[in-house]
């Protein structure tokens, strides 16, 4: 593992993003960057505009103001097939009306993406992605019969497939995760974020919406804090997780602690009613 020099051009750059619909500004003046090898967590209360921001970053929504650029190129100008090699998105729970098997769902991430991949290469990528997402044993089962957490792991395998296939076109990629740990048990929450951290070592830039600040503090290089569509803090977890900011943004007076070794911040829930 070698330390990468900071790239002159961020993989993903958002400038002064705003998105308004129905007279409400869901995202308001947000700027951020993602550099190769970084893992950033977007945090904030419900309705802060986290998912909307992620949709703007992925190119799924066009901003009413501001720009999103991948390696300096405006996202709207990149054709979909090339964008699919540059960035992958893990959505929140997806329902399927057709009885695809888990392996077939994961394999959809490979079809038509990348260049020069033979049948064997694709089979290898699929097997590796399923293994990395701990979904190998689910491969032959019908996706609609899986539990929510199992479905999430299969979707993660699909995203890993897409990244691996896309790497044949774009060596440096962006991975966007929308609450990737929401339906996972503790072991798989850790495993998924370990896998994401692994990808950053290959130069991938990861941006993940996370609700669990402790997970975010453990895995992210930076926390991007959103409140009512605005970016209110962006920095290392140790700098961002302060009692006053947590109280103001999240409306809870839970104390921020520090683990003795390394000083990683953590948040301890505390009940507010007696009894």
């Amino acid at each position: 593992m070698t330390e990468r020099p900071p790239s002159p051009e961020p993989l993903l750059a958002a400038r002064d993003l705003a998105y308004a619909t129905g007279g409400r500004r869901l995202v308001d003046g947000v700027s951020l960057e993602a550099r190769p090898g970084s893992l950033q967590a977007i945090v904030g209360p419900n309705g802060a505009g986290k998912s909307t921001l992620l949709k703007l970053l992925s190119g799924e929504l066009a901003p009413t103001q501001g720009t999103v650029a991948y390696a300096g190129e405006a996202v709207a100008a990149i054709p979909p097939w090339r964008l699919a090699a540059l960035r992958a998105v893990l959505p929140q729970a997806a329902h399927l009306a057709f009885p695809f098997t888990a392996a077939e769902v994961a394999r959809i991430g490979l079809d038509g993406i990348g260049r020069g991949l033979g049948r064997r290469d694709r089979a290898g990528i699929l097997a590796e992605a399923l293994a990395r997402a701990d979904a190998t044993h689910l491969g032959a089962r019908a996706y609609p019969t899986l539990s929510g957490g199992e479905q999430a792991r299969v979707q993660f395998a699909r995203v890993l497939c897409q990244l691996a296939a896309g790497r044949t076109l774009a060596p440096a990629q962006v991975l966007l995760l929308d609450e990737p740990t929401a339906s996972l048990d503790l072991r798989h929450q850790g495993a998924l974020l370990d896998a994401a951290r692994d990808l950053t070592r290959r130069g991938t830039a990861v941006i993940a919406i996370l609700h669990d600040l402790n997970l975010a503090a453990a895995y992210a290089d930076a926390l991007i804090v959103l409140e009512a569509g605005r970016l209110v803090a962006n920095g290392p977890p140790a700098a961002v997780m302060r009692d006053d900011l947590i109280a103001r943004v999240f409306g809870v007076s839970w104390p921020v602690g520090r683990v003795p070794e390394g000083g990683q911040p953590f948040l301890l829930p505390r009940r507010t009613v007696a009894g």
Binding site: V89, L96, E104, A140, A142, T145
Partner: protein, 349 residues
């Protein structure tokens, strides 16, 4: 293992079987009827350069071959349209008949049957209306219904599948009501024509019809396999398909256009035939799985074979008269469909 949907789903054997079924259907369709012609003789007649003449050759080449080819094309078109719509709407119950495309076609045809003569008389032109007016109207009706639907459901460049489905059901009901009014206003002869049209028949097949239908349906059948990957991604959701590099709006527009063309041309050639678009893809999904790259070509094969076999039954059951083919497809299709639905869990007991 309750879920037998393993990774080793049958591929090549199923296509081989479908090919065989298609060949058998064609031979039956060419051989059975008022004059029975054995398969060997059919092959001899169809061999290029064979100087076969006489009654059998006349029956096969002049009457049964165009009818069979028309059945193959219409059946394939209907089944593929069903598979396309189900993929597009991410709903296994979608069908051209459900979202009003067939109803739009049927309404236009009914309008021509009932009002055509009066319109001509009103314009001081001699009746009856040329026979070609009916298929042209059916085609335009299907296309109009589809484009209207698409207009309603598209706002700011984005097509809402939910709106499309609901609007389609409303449009279908409206077309049905208007067709009902026309039925009310029709005389006896028109009523018989309407009934025949609304239940479908390959009885009027001629080489002219084959040549008129082929340019519409063959391009659809050729283009459809290219939509497989996009439709697979679309099953995950529109946003997910976009993330995977699928040009979603273009895919939806193309799929809708192909459905309109296939259904319009099919209704124009043989009236409104139900159930093919619903049963065929559904049955195939149980065997080869939902992957559209295999489902779409397989639907074309099975749809063609199914409609040709249904036509053979329509010709034989009440010979020398003929049943409308829509009755046969519903009679065969509905129980088979139920059996498929019920049979699946029974395997797990």
């Amino acid at each position: 293992m309750s879920d037998a949907a393993g990774p080793g789903r049958p591929g090549a054997p199923v296509f081989l079987g479908l090919g065989l079924l298609l060949a058998v259907a064609v031979l039956l369709s060419l051989g059975l009827g008022a004059v029975r012609i054995p398969p060997a003789r059919i092959v001899a007649i169809l061999t290029p350069g064979a100087a076969e003449a006489g009654r059998d050759a006349l029956v096969v080449l002049g009457i049964r071959l165009p009818r069979t080819l028309l059945g193959l094309m219409v059946g394939a078109g209907l089944a593929v349209s069903g598979a396309l719509m189900q993929g597009l709407f991410r709903n296994p119950l979608s069908d051209p008949a459900l979202v009003g495309v067939s109803a739009g076609s049927g309404l236009a045809a009914a309008a021509v049957i009932v009002l055509g003569d009066r319109l001509l008389a009103g314009m001081g032109l001699p009746g009856p209306l040329p026979y070609a007016a009916l298929p042209v109207a059916a085609f335009l009706g299907g296309l109009g219904a589809t484009l209207g639907l698409y207009r309603i459901a598209t706002r700011a460049g984005r097509t809402s599948v939910a709106t499309l489905l609901l609007a389609g059901i409303a449009l279908g009901a409206l077309s049905g009501a208007l067709t009902g009014l026309l039925v009310y206003a029709s005389d006896d002869r028109q009523l018989r024509d309407l009934t025949f049209w609304s239940l479908g028949s390959l009885g009027g097949a001629t080489w002219t019809k084959v040549w008129a239908t082929a340019p519409a349906l063959l391009p659809v059948l050729v283009l459809v396999p290219f939509l497989g990957r996009g439709l697979n991604a679309l099953v995950l959701g529109e946003a997910e398909a976009f993330h995977l590099g699928v040009p979603v709006e273009r895919l939806k527009r193309l799929a809708i256009l192909l459905v309109a063309v296939a259904v319009g041309a099919g209704v124009a050639a043989s009236g409104v035939i139900g159930f093919v678009g619903l049963v065929v893809p559904h049955a195939l999904r149980l065997v080869i799985g939902p992957d559209h790259r295999r489902l779409l070509p397989a639907s074309a094969l099975l749809g063609g074979a199914f409609l040709v076999l249904a036509d053979v039954a329509a010709r034989l059951v009440v010979a020398p008269a003929e049943l409308p083919i829509g009755i046969v497809t519903a009679f065969v299709g509905a129980p088979v469909f139920l059996w498929l639905l019920l049979g699946k869990p029974r395997q797990d007991d």
